[in-house]
Subunit: 312 residues, 2 copies
């Protein structure tokens, strides 16, 4: 059974509520993960702000069995389109800074419900950058080691940790570009899409092209077209276009992140996330001569417990 | 009445047949444009390769009135998904080089039909770049002056002219990024869309952000997210998000094209195209301290006549 540190020392339900999904985890007083429920009830699918009814429906069996255990919620649930809108905490921020901004209320059964805030980097131009949920994953990853982290996703985050703080971060819309081009662009018109999306050698060739292109060919708006020209040149099979696209976009994320100062070759970085993207990013990181700091899983759960434990 | 140079000295029908539209123009022996028909019958909408029947249906009135005038066709109609697939002519290429690759056939009424080839730049990495149709517009623009041209569109082309040749070119998928993000992404999709899509001041603020960002904030995958963070920061109204996106993507096209060596500040460039994008690109070009070479219109028609005149 998986275990996370539980500084609260009591049973707690962690609710990771994003745009597209709702993940609830029941943690025992010693950190054992007693149960996990994942549904598609992301906030974008909740009608008429029926957040409380949705949550109570999902966790009712746990509350019946274990009583009014406290609940801690993170993610887009605290955005303008969520249940309660919380202001962003500015970087640099410690877990205690995040804890100070917790908004607490009570559920119908008597359970305390604690909403965790998001984070903003006000120094980014042209506008402050924002995250909701990733800051909790970062805290769960651990802040004791000065390091750059990448959190892959629809909107990947690169973040810097130093002196037990999140000192700054930057969003890259890599996953969104991949989804848009593979679903709606010239690439989507290939009938063979998706059949070979796990072809690492093809992904790697795209990532290497992103890494090694000289200034003229490095133009990202231009490299995206190489998915098509590769097919026209007979160098890419239609079934390989999505893998190549994946390499081009992730490779460019690393190239652009390096140019933006997030790492230099030879650095050690952390990759935070639980899905298969973590492995893919680890492979691309190696192409950029990066070493990977090993980490655990369940960062969102561990981080939520750690932040809540700092409250008051 | 509009006039283009007509070195053929006889009535001709020019067919600009792309992915999404079919434009037919009847030119008199002296270059007067006698008629223009534009339909949505782009090649992607033609079922069962019924290209000949489609074309004959559109130009039948002209053939009835003027007899078996020759027809010259350009664009994606010579691609793999078109009527007749023609190989690309490699750069550097003169109009005579393009003319040598013309494929000719005869229509049912006895009219000659001449297909113009596309162009490839085999020196681009990781794969050769390609165009079909833009090379004809470039010839119509004129090759007598060494200059860089930009042809705005779904897949913008930057091309270099020298010594009466097209010496090389590069594709930027700017228009496609704009369309994908404005139609399918919550970064820029808004119910207030399009109401203010001609708000130049907002476009310009996006283009200036693209132009002026330092290395860290210049990461294009990151700048795209600023459309959303600008709205979250209260700096962009929802109705301004698409204008701002337009500035971000076109501004980044110019920034990337400059980094790729297509121009330096103070240069004179040509902008080729007939739609409103031409004006928008002209405005952004001024933000990059570029001067614009004045040109005519109907470049595709003028270029098709000029290339065909070089045949044999």
């Amino acid at each position: 059974m998986d275990i996370v540190p539980n500084p609260l020392g009591k049973k707690t339900i962690v609710v990771d509520w994003g745009t597209t999904s709702l993940r609830c985890t029941l943690v025992d007083s010693d950190g054992c993960l007693l149960g996990n429920l994942e549904t598609q009830a992301g906030i974008q699918f909740i009608k008429d702000k029926r957040f409380q009814a949705t949550l109570m429906g999902v966790i009712a069996p746990w509350l019946e069995k274990h009583g009014n255990v406290p609940v801690v919620a993170l993610g887009m649930i605290t955005s303008k389109d969520g249940w309660v809108e919380l202001p962003y905490v500015p970087c640099p921020a410690t877990p205690a800074d995040l804890a100070k901004a917790i908004h607490s209320t009570t559920l119908p059964n008597g359970s305390e419900l604690h909403f965790l805030p998001g984070l903003t980097d006000t120094l980014r131009a042209p506008f402050p950058d924002v995250m909701r949920g990733e800051e909790t994953q970062i805290v769960g990853f651990g802040l004791n080691d000065p390091i750059t982290l990448v959190l892959p996703g629809t909107h990947s985050k690169w973040a810097r940790i130093a002196e037990e703080q999140v000192t700054g971060f930057q969003t890259f819309v890599t996953g969104e570009i991949f989804a848009l081009f593979s679903q709606h662009s010239f690439i989507a018109k290939t009938e063979a899409k998706d059949t070979d999306s796990e072809d690492w050698e093809v992904v790697a060739s795209g990532a290497r092209a992103a890494r090694d292109s000289d200034a003229a060919d490095a133009a990202f708006l231009s490299q995206l077209f190489s998915v098509r020209t590769g097919m026209l040149a007979g160098q890419l099979e239609p079934a390989q276009m999505q893998s190549y696209l994946s390499g081009i976009v992730i490779g460019n994320e690393f190239r652009q992140a390096m140019a933006a100062g997030w790492f230099t070759k030879g650095d050690r970085i952390g990759i935070v996330g639980n899905d298969k993207l973590k492995d893919r990013y680890g492979q691309v990181a190696e192409l950029f001569d990066l070493k990977i700091k090993a980490d655990g899983e369940h960062e969102a759960v561990a981080g939520a417990l750690k932040i809540l434990a700092q409250k008051n």
